[in-house]
Amino acid sequence: MQFHQIIMDATEIEFLAEKAPITIVPNFTQEKLYLISGDVGPFTAGIPMEVPMWLGMNLRQRGKCRLVIPDWMDAEKLAEKKEEESQSKVFTEMPCEHYLVVAQLILSTAPEDIPNSQQVKTLVKDIWDLRISKLRSSVAEFIQSEGTHAKLDRLTLLEINSIRPFLPHSFDQLHRLSKAANSSNLSQTQDY
């Protein structure tokens, strides 16, 4: 019997993250763009504006704008976040749902736009590693506790995806086993 596993590719999560807005400063002037998913613009050289990430990245690559780095991507703030995350037993709230994707996109497209880019890169990776290792140890606990359901507040999509398909599939199997165990118990009690 073939079994089907529900998976999501990291590139697809990046695709989803690319819809989030980012602030850019265009170096050209252009009237509104009437995109299917909403109007963008008008573009005025030197005036900051919000565009979806995929558009911002593309414009930046063509040299048509400068990126305004999101507030949270600051070396000091990230260092504080890292400290907070390492002190806390549970997962802390991340300033951005797609923090790793956004950081990675900006660092690869326009590292010059980020002050202390090397530091930022290291800090984001450290935060990711901390959270993933917390996740790994709590997964072990989940399974041992034989719970039927788990709460994963404040975990971001990419982090959740890292335990697919292993974790849901393990729970499936555990459920199957306990169902089989229970039904054999029932049939035993019905025997004389």
Binding site: M1, K151, L152, S178
Partner: protein, 201 residues
Amino acid sequence: MVKQDTHLPQKAWITERMSPTLEQNQSELVDCMLDQINQMAENLKRLKKHDFRLAIHKMEIDRIRYIISSYLRVRLEKIERYAHYLLQKEAGITDESMANLTPQEVTYAKDYASNLESHFQTLVLQHVPENLRGFDPTKMSVKPNLDSYIFLRVKEETQGVLIDDSGEGRDEEVDLEEGSQHLMRYKPISHLVQSGAVTLI
């Protein structure tokens, strides 16, 4: 379709990807998006070769097209996997608005099922002794595992969701707070997915 509704195709796509069974078809949404894409493509033909504006519109079209293709592809995969089960279920539905499969999908499922049967006949069954030639599609049908564990995010607070345990009588109830995320079995919350109270992630 209003511009603010453009997150709906994405939501339908993720739900279909993450669900162990076939969700309700969103053919109106798909048709609407395809219309919009085609219209945009028409308009772009009339635009002069404005290199980067054209490229941006085209990028957006490609993005939307990707979501729709992936959505339709995952539905077809499920139809192929659960063909017999889905056809039986659809046959039992009399109200058209409750149908899960579009008419084209029903035709596809029927064709697939009959192709599979004739494939087995030509490949194996007609070459084996008479008494082994029986073909019972119901024995071959695969049902989706509604007990699969899925991740969800809560949109609307829902109290007292019953997650009954496997027959031990250990009935467990959970309160779903808005904004929380959970890992649990699909079956107890499938009605909440359909109502929009939770979304699969």
